[in-house]
């Protein structure tokens, strides 16, 4: 059969690993057919070409209209690792656009990707987790992940995966648990996260604290996070500002309940929090002010903080309006008297 190539010697600058892309609107349909061909080389080349095309949002939209997603879902379980890797990469890039995300949710890609979590090839897993992470940032995506029952699986994977993938999993978890935390709690999240809080990597510590923050927004989560408060207080003095910010946020939610407040006071949380508030450019300022407000509701806390009201007065000059408001509320709470 005649092929489009004229001579056996290709021009020197063409990438031989990519399929030639047809002109204009025909590009994607042709790649769609090539992907379904039984020959491995054609499939791989088509996938490489598709990977480049999909950076354009219009092409993403067109791809979803044509029905690429179904074919790509079938390719996820291909025996060849390059095919799987490229497919997951394509899903990854598609998930970066909103159109892509909506399309992926509608076609139910997330349960299909869940089967890839045990893939022997690292990069496939990494891409799959990246897709999850990006989908979780959408509310519908997070709901979809929860519905697919992926939380226990993700928790389990957290123990055994590589560091990069752990970061992605923690991000996914933090976004999903914002919606609902009961599944995670039932699969023993706290023990796993507790040991992650003392991990050597900075990003993992900060992300684990973020997950605890999200768990703490739910009432049943607050009780459980209360057990981790001493570790969080020790993280307040960590060298990295991200870790401090996340830990302060987690403490903020954990100290809402009275038991949490008592344990935080007992763990001597006030001095590091004051230091964070005093720092002008710290990201943790807002959370620290809020946490101190919580602690000021207790009598001992109020007594200790009455001496430090000038720190809060300084916060009133912060350019961010939220910080100013928080500082006013804090001062009010500290100066409140029962009579």
């Amino acid at each position: 059969m005649a092929s489009t190539r004229i001579s056996a010697q290709l021009p020197p600058d063409i990438d031989p690993t990519k399929a030639p892309i047809a002109f204009g609107r025909r590009a994607l349909p042709k790649l769609n057919e090539e992907i379904q061909s039984p020959e491995l080389l054609t499939q791989q080349r088509a996938l490489m070409a598709l990977c480049d095309l999909v950076h354009d949002p219009e092409k993403v939209y067109q791809a979803i209209q044509i029905g690429f997603v179904e074919n790509l879902k079938n390719l996820l379980l291909h025996h060849d690792s390059t095919v799987r890797q490229k497919t997951t990469e394509i899903f990854c890039i598609m998930a970066m656009h909103n159109v892509g995300r909506q399309g992926l949710i509608q076609k139910g890609v997330i349960p299909a990707l869940a089967e890839l979590m045990d893939d022997p090839v690292d990069i496939c897993r990494k891409n799959a987790h990246q897709v999850f992470e990006m989908m979780a940032k959408l509310h519908e995506g997070a709901a979809d992940i929860l519905r697919a029952g992926l939380i226990p699986l993700l928790m389990f994977k957290l123990k055994s995966e590589l560091n990069e993938i752990q970061e992605l999993i923690l991000d996914t978890l933090s976004n999903c648990l914002r919606v609902e935390a009961s599944e995670a709690l039932s699969s023993g999240a706290i023990t796993i996260l507790k040991e992650k809080l003392t991990h050597s990597s900075v990003t993992i510590r900060s992300k684990a604290a973020q997950v605890l923050l999200e768990i703490g927004t739910h009432p049943e989560g607050k009780i459980v996070v209360g057990e981790v408060i001493p570790v969080l207080v020790s993280l307040l003095e960590d060298t990295d500002s991200e870790v401090q910010a996340s830990a302060t946020g987690a403490l903020m939610f954990a100290t809402i309940k009275p038991q949490g407040r008592f344990s935080a006071l007992g763990a001597e949380a006030i001095p590091p929090l004051l230091k964070l508030v005093a720092g002008e450019t710290s990201k943790a300022r807002l959370s620290a002010i809020k946490t101190l407000t919580m602690l000021a509701e207790l009598p001992e806390g109020r007594r200790k903080l009455l001496d430090h009201t000038d720190t809060f007065q300084q916060c009133l000059n912060d350019p961010r309006e939220a910080v100013r408001r928080a500082a006013e509320i804090a001062i009010r709470v500290i100066k409140w008297k029962p009579f």
Binding site: H55, L213, T217, G249, F253, I256, L286, A326
Partner: protein
């Protein structure tokens, strides 16, 4: 057909030239062959075609015509085949000649071939051969066609394109380069913008998340505060209610105490008076007299009375026995006195209870008149008792009698 070039003497001018075949205009060929069942065509007016468009007309130069040899290239094989074909044709012809055309000679005769022409010919198998040779000139190469140079008309004008005038690479390559570079840049920009957009989105989202978390924490704190205050309020309310309850109870108790106190103030005097009235506070001597002396007195009185009663009874019994004896004595009389006796028997029997009734009736007004006096009443009472005790005795004795 071309007129063959004549060798020999010059052609006499008088003899007109005659053709082997007169030239004629070629009629036009119909484009399509006639249909097979067509009738023989009637004579149509001859249509002449244009010679110029007739494919049968030879084109080109007529004065230097190249004649294409009949067989261009014969290799050995084809030459052999042609020789074979010629031999076969000869053989066929000879076989044809073998066929007898005349009948068989009659007996005694013999057919002989005889020449009958005017001039006899010597016939022999061997034909008279005269070898003549003719030799053409060796084939010369066709001399090259002389250039046809038509007469020059017009003016000569020359133009020459120097190198670099028609095609300037730098200018021509510009649009191609623009497209290439543009596409690459576009793709690169797209990717960079994508990442930047994403980074901005995440930063935006993080800032929003921070604010949201802070607000959420504030909301939850206020909720918690509210809950605590509410619980505290409930507790205090409960406490206050309990206090009020206790207060009420205390006032009731005090009122009850006051009332009880007042009620009981004259309890003691009234109790005492009641007791005194009911005889609890007794004078011991009086009591002594009452409890001991008087019963003894009474018993003594009773005894005395009993003695009297006994005496009366004795008297009664005496009277009775006497009366009975008299009755017996009177009843010993003849039978005319039996009915009187029998009438009298129930009579005394009636009389006895009647006596008792009479005595009772006599007692009753006595008791009625003397009821007011208690000790005397007691006496009467005891007497009645004793009489009543006697009554059954009497009734018993009477029964014994009637039996």
């Amino acid at each position: 057909m071309l007129p063959a070039p004549r060798r020999g003497a010059a052609a006499p001018a008088a003899v007109p030239y005659c053709y082997c075949s007169p030239p004629r205009a070629l009629p036009a060929r119909t484009k399509y062959r006639p249909p097979p069942e067509a009738a023989p065509q009637e004579k149509e007016p001859v249509r002449y075609a244009n010679v110029m468009y007739d494919p049968r007309v030879v084109r080109g130069n007529t004065y230097a015509l190249q004649v294409i040899p009949a067989c261009t290239h014969l290799d050995l094989f084809e030459i052999q085949r042609q020789r074979e074909a010629r031999r076969k044709a000869l053989a066929r012809k000879r076989a044809k000649e073998q066929v007898q055309l005349t009948p068989e000679p009659v007996e005694g005769r013999e057919h002989v071939h005889v020449q009958t022409e005017l001039y006899l010919e010597e016939i022999s198998d061997r034909t008279i051969e005269v070898d003549t040779e003719c030799q053409t000139d060796a084939f010369l190469d066709r001399p090259p066609t002389p250039f046809f140079i038509p007469a020059k008309t017009g003016r000569d004008v020359a133009t020459q394109i120097e190198e670099g005038e028609l095609f300037d690479f730098d200018i021509e390559v510009e649009p191609i380069l623009e497209v290439l570079v543009g596409k690459t840049m576009e793709q690169a920009l797209l990717e960079v913008m994508e990442e930047e957009e994403l980074a901005q989105l995440w930063a935006h989202q993080r800032a929003y998340a921070e604010l949201r978390n802070a607000e959420l924490a504030e909301v939850q704190r206020l909720e918690e505060q509210d809950r605590r205050y509410r619980e505290e309020k409930e507790r205090r309310k409960l406490q206050h209610m309990q206090m009020l309850q206790k207060q009420k109870e205390t006032t009731e108790k005090i009122a009850a105490w006051a009332f009880a106190k007042r009620y009981l103030t004259d309890l003691i005097p009234s109790v005492f008076s009641n007791l005194r009235e009911s005889g609890f506070f007794y004078d011991p001597i009086e009591r002594d007299i009452e409890t001991e002396f008087l019963p003894w007195l009474m018993t003594e009185v009773e005894e005395t009375l009993e003695k009297k009663v006994l005496g009366r009874m004795m008297l009664d019994s005496l009277i009775r026995t006497v009366v009975e004896k008299r009755l017996d004595a009177f009843s010993q009389e003849p039978l005319s006195g039996q009915t009187e006796a029998s009438a009298e028997e129930p009579g005394p029997i009636d009389a006895a209870p009647q006596e008792a009734d009479e005595i009772e009736a006599a007692d009753l007004p006595v008791t009625a008149s003397e009821e007011s006096d208690q000790p005397v009443a007691e006496e009467q009472l005891s007497r009645r008792i004793s009489f009543q005790l006697e009554e059954p005795d009497q009734a018993e004795t009477e029964d014994l009698e009637t039996e």
